[in-house]
Amino acid sequence: MSPTESSITKSTGPAPSTRRRRRIDGGEPLVFLTGMGLAIGLTMITALLALILFKGLEAFWPKRVARIELTPAAAERVGRDVVVAHILGRQEIRGAAHAEGGAGVDEGDPGTELRLQVGNRDLNGMGFMYLPESAIERISHPRGILRLERMEYGPALVEPLELDIAGEPPLSLASEGGIDALERAIRAAAHRRAEIRAIERDQIGGLSRRIESLRMRRRGIEASATPDPAEVASIEARIAELERRYEGLAAESRALRDAQHADTLTYRIDSGREHRIPVGEIVSAERPNALGFFGRLRVFLGNMWSFVVDEPREANTEGGIFPALFGTFVMTLILSVAVTPFGVIAAIYLREYAKDGPTVRAVRIAINNLAGVPSIVFGVFGLGFFVYFVGGSIDTLFFRLSEGPVFGTGGILWASLTLALMTVPVVIVATEEALAAVSRGVREGSLACGASKWQTIQRIVLPAAAPGIITGMILAMARGAGEVAPLMITGVVKLAPTLPLDATFPFLHLDRKFMHLGFHIYDLGFQSPDSEAARPMVFATTLLLIALVVTMNLGAIVIRERLRRKYATGAF
């Protein structure tokens, strides 16, 4: 009996008792089963985005500092009475009771323990610890505890004692005025730090590059068949002059560095030890427990800002991610500059010039498929072709005198071109779709008015297809920005000393290695010496990357929807 028949026979019997049976036979529960699939999919994506959003933002929110007093027995074991720490979480002590014979822990319920960030890694030797809840006597949140972000050794949770500013009497930090003075000193130190960086990176860096290029020229002259001694001497003189300037700058930065160590802060940590550090070592200081909601919000926004604009510290586990963000930006820019014209030209050719036939259809299938070829394959190609083949040839032709490879090693140009190649199908497909959506009538109208084919394309078709082309470009950029695997073999590094775009000639350094948000995540999560400390940074970086990629994609989707509504021709 065919399905339609059975439905007909059933529907002829309108008895109410069969109604429910028909619902079941009609497969309504199975409809819900398929609906469950959709519900799972939606939950997965929402939960993931929510998780990243929450964890990412949490990293910036100032956490309260707890002062944990230990029970006498625990105090003996830990070696101190008080632990000052951020409480990161609670977890079951799993298997510990079996492993260690369950010292003081009930057999049936192993109890819970607290995960604490104690900071002061320089004095404690560790930044994190676990504490069974049974060892805790009392938890309080005193307002006076100061949290310091330092250039080295991570955060410190301290009780401030004294600020010693050069040329002034020591200042006790028990008063509000003391804290203000400390904040002023920290700001001054930050200013000096920026100055040091400007001198050391930009000026000295520029000088040493010039010296290096002069040396290369000297080598070139010396290696030539008829070395001209006068020319060599003039180069020598210029090198000497540059070196003198170099010395001057170095002295200047030395003086600033000394100033960074002039002022000191004395504090006491939870184990009772007192310690003195130069104010120049402190990045920021705040009293999390004394902050109200708006105070916290201010710190939160400040943290976010410095995350985006600062350089990384401590093997990337602290500080900001500016170089990675900037590297991603420059790479995406080069990528889009490379990918758009080529993709558009190929699409115009396929749609407007090539005669539709089996060949074009085959080519179209091939291009569609290239979009599905794994990114790592493009990476392999990029390494073999761009880096070794093209880059190696450029080096042998133009940089024979340079000591290391210039273009014959991974760099931002090669990484961008590799990704451009990878995303070219995206642009081709999107552009073709947009071109196809331009109605035949418009085209024929233009031709009928006597416009040439190119004029039609240039003035009629392309403007109409522009939103579609932009969609393709954005999609390509979004895919390129989030891709990591091909970059790992074509020029991304965990820590680049210089940016690919800066103030020294020729401004855009295509041969430089660069940092990238996605690789930053990989590196922090997997290669970091202290992965626990890096955790908030990874989530924050993830949030930033996702925000970038999702914004780009949503933009593309919105543009495309508008386009679809405008030209209501369906594309498969």
Binding site: T4, S7, K10, R20, R23, G26, G27, E28, P29, L30, V31, F32, L33, T34, G35, M36, L38, A39, G41, L42, M44, I45, L48, F342, I345, Y349, L350, E352, Y353, I365, A366, I367, N368, N369, G372, V373, P374, I376, V377, F378, V380, F381, G384, F385, P425, A448, G450, W454, Q458, R479, G482, V484, G518, Y522, G525, T542, I546, V549, L554, F572
Partner: protein, 768 residues
């Protein structure tokens, strides 16, 4: 075309003014033609370039499958009557040990006069046997008085004026007594691992042959290495089964081998009190004539190249046979036979290659892959042969003491079809197998380049990803396209596209650092959720359809979806909480510390119950996270295919009284099946090539099983791990390109099938 603008007269206007008025500017025409050309060239060029990726990768791979190229470079004269030849890394100053005990170095590139060193004079006795270790340049010299001495030849490269000059330096040690009676040493060999040193020799004492071995030590002093002294001497004669013919000392310094005239080999291994006879084997016992023509080590000294008197060529390796505890020799390779007994032998000092000469036939063979790299009938019969340290020259000395230098080019001896896809009996393994291990700690490491474990890993990851993703994606597409309100669809599709755009590095990071530790302790919860969530769907469906129409209508557009989401959350929470209970009931193992007690821990239960591994970063985690990458792709394409089924078909079915489920399953699904299949294929392609998730969320161990709680290494992750370290144009580099090629072909094939299906489907809808 411009005619229409003119007033219509029966008599046409004279063409000249009309032509002038409508004539197109030349520049416009030129531009049009130029742009046509540019776009044509550019378009074709880009398409060719994009497809050129395939060609380029292929071009990088091809050298892997080429044999060795050998051709005559130069010839010259060697000192007459040489018994042994050694050569430096650059093959500039080969040395020849003459029968009279002089070592003569000639200059092949410059015109330096031959340089002779009287070794016999230096040691003060006549040299009766000599054995060269090409890896270290040490010659063990057997002397007439039953002792032996070591001569170390070091080549030093001096640079003056930018030109290289190779200077040989010879250090001759004092003779070392082998113990026992005096007599002529007939054969001697010396092995040195740096810590352990052993020497073995055959000594003719009063017409009888004795086999002796000594264990040596070298004191380290402040000024450097001290004298070599004998720590213990051992007489192996009583243990040797036949007439000794040759001895071989292992460079591990712990063992030696005695080859007898009868065709047996005795393997002696160092123990506290000297040596024990660990094994006696006859490598050619199945041949009519079991006698051995040649037995020599292959680089690394854990494999023996053996040739019988009839030319049979085999390789024996040291390995621990199954069920035993010590390493013994066993046959691992069988090469095509040589025409007769061997007249000269040498081995590469970099790879597992060896060169055997029988009559005038020279054959360069590679042990690992059991392949002949090069074989040629030479116009002379070589008596001595040597391969240079750089593996780029072969030197032959023929009967009339002429020296023939051949240029050798064999950059990828380890590579072959078999090495990548076949079973290979690697050194130290007890059976042939597939293995990937590209680098090792020592120089004599044997690279294992089988693609098979990586292919299996790739398939494993893909399998688990699809196992999770396909049911969810297809049913979601089905629901969204067939049952949900179009407004729901309009909201779901962009969300799914956002999901597709999530960078895989983010997914990988979350999988490894967030999900894996959670799942590790909560496997029973996950299992329970897998059971509860689909049942929740069915139960809710039953309840919902039983609910009065009024209630259902009031629920609005998102009503069903809201109910489903609530059901999902409740079922998920139940599963999460119920997991530990389930664990306590079912997944318990006896506590080893306390008999009678049982520990409830899935991580222990799984290995105990199935014998398979449990790792934190496992396929379950990978499958789940890859779902994020695969679900949106399958969903989008499948949803398109389902939505594009002509509305008339659906309406017809519904009008005939079929329920929405019946319509969907029996009308829409079969019509769109090709599209759904193509969606699955494209999802498969994505899962095959996914790199970052598997790189981060698995242990990257190249294992070959389908255990869901262990990791894997996929082709893509393998490339990402190893390519940054692979030397340019080395074998590993090209092998990784081969891996990329496999990936490329796999995804390309899968995607092409999908694309053709989709086109086919489009044709079909056009006709309906």
């Amino acid at each position: 075309m411009s005619d229409s603008t003119e007033p219509s007269h029966l008599d046409r206007a004279t063409p000249a003014p009309a032509g002038a008025r409508v004539a197109t500017r030349r520049s416009v025409l030129l531009l049009d033609r130029a742009m046509s050309l540019i776009i044509r060239l550019g378009g074709i060029g880009i398409i060719v370039a994009v497809l050129g990726i395939f060609v380029f990768i292929l071009w990088q791979i091809l050298p892997l499958f080429r044999g060795a190229a050998v051709e005559l470079a130069s010839s010259g004269r060697a000192p007459p009557g040489a018994r042994l030849m050694l050569v430096d890394e650059w093959s500039e100053r080969p040395g020849f040990l003459g029968a009279d005990g002089t070592l003569t170095f000639i200059d092949l590139v410059g015109d330096a006069p031959a340089e002779s060193i009287d070794l016999a004079g230096r040691v003060g006795a006549q040299i009766t046997a000599a054995h060269l270790r090409p890896t270290t340049g040490t010659i063990a010299l057997g002397l007439e008085d039953g002792s032996f001495a070591l001569a170390d030849v070091n080549y030093r490269a001096e640079f003056d004026d930018g030109r290289r000059r190779v200077v040989p330096e010879v250090n001759v040690g004092a003779p070392i007594d082998l113990g026992g009676g005096r007599g002529r040493v007939l054969d001697v060999d010396y092995g040195d691992s740096g810590r352990d040193k052993v020497a073995a020799a055959i000594v003719e004492v009063e017409g009888k042959l004795e086999v002796r071995a000594v264990v040596l030590t070298q004191r380290r002093t402040l000024v450097g290495a001290g004298r070599i002294e004998v720590r213990g001497a051992f007489d192996a004669t009583p243990l040797v089964g036949g007439t000794p013919k040759a001895v071989l000392a292992s460079s591990k310094g712990d063992s030696f081998l005695v080859v007898t005239d009868e065709g047996e080999i005795d393997y002696f291994f160092a123990v506290d009190s000297g040596f024990e006879l660990r094994q006696r084997f006859s490598p050619f016992e199945d041949q009519p004539d079991p006698r051995i023509s040649m037995a020599e080590f292959i680089f690394g000294d854990v494999s023996l190249a053996l040739v019988g008197v009839d030319g049979t060529n085999r390789v024996f390796s040291l390995f621990v046979p199954e069920g035993q505890s010590v390493r013994t020799w066993g046959r691992t390779k069988q090469f095509p036979p040589l025409p007769g007994p061997v007249s000269a032998y040498t081995k590469s000092t970099r790879t597992k290659a060896f060169l055997v000469v029988a009559g005038s036939l020279a054959s360069l063979r590679f042990s690992t892959t059991e392949s002949i790299r090069w074989q040629e009938e030479l116009p002379f019969a070589p008596r001595l042969v040597a391969i240079s340290g750089k593996n780029d020259r072969i030197l032959f000395v023929d009967e009339s003491s002429r020296l023939h230098v051949y240029a050798l080019s064999d950059p990828h001896p380890e590579a072959s079809w078999r090495a990548f896809f076949g079973r290979i009996w690697y050194e130290g393994a007890d059976r042939p197998g597939f293995e990937w291990q590209s680098t090792g700690g020592t120089d004599d490491f044997e690279p294992k380049l089988s693609m098979v474990p990586l292919l299996i890993g790739t398939l494993k990851g893909t399998f688990y990803a699809l196992l999770f993703a396909v049911p969810i994606a297809v049913s979601a597409a089905m629901y969204a396209s067939q049952f949900a309100h179009w407004k729901v669809r309009a909201f779901v599709k962009p969300l799914m596209e956002v999901m597709a755009s999530l960078p895989s590095v983010v997914l990988g990071f979350l999988a490894a650092l967030w999900l894996a530790p959670i799942i590790e302790t909560r496997v029973p919860s996950v299992l329970l959720m897998l059971l509860l969530i689909p049942s929740a769907g069915v139960v809710l469906g039953l309840l919902w359809s039983a609910a009065p129409v009024a209630v259902r209508n009031r629920a609005g557009l998102f009503g069903e979806l809201t109910v489903l989401l609530c059901g999902l959350l409740v079922a998920g929470a139940l599963g999460w909480i119920g997991g530990p209970l389930l664990e306590r009931l079912v997944f318990t193992v006896p506590d080893p510390a306390e008999p009678g007690r049982r520990i409830a821990d899935f991580r222990l239960w799984w290995p105990a119950f199935t014998g398979a591994d449990f790792q934190q970063r496992n396929s379950l985690v990978v499958g789940f996270m890859m779902g994020f990458a695969v679900i949106p792709i399958i969903f989008t394409i499948a949803e398109d295919a389902l939505s594009n089924v002509p509305q008339s078909l659906r309406s017809g079915s519904l009008a005939l009284g079929a329920s929405r489920w019946q319509t969907a399953v029996r009308i829409v699904l079969p019509t769109a099946s090709a599209g759904i299949f193509s969606a699955l294929m494209i999802g498969l392609g994505r899962a095959v090539g996914e790199t970052m998730i598997v790189l981060m969320a698995t242990g990257n161990t190249p294992i070959m099983d389908f255990n869901i709680f262990s990791g894997m290494r996929t082709l893509s992750a393998n490339i990402a791990v190893e390519l940054p370290e692979a030397p340019h144009h080395g074998t590993l580099y090209r092998a990784l390109f081969l891996g990329a090629m496999l990936l490329f072909l796999m995804t390309f094939a899968v995607n092409t099938v999908a694309e053709v299906l989709r086109q086919h489907l489009r044709e079909r809808f056009r006709t309906i």
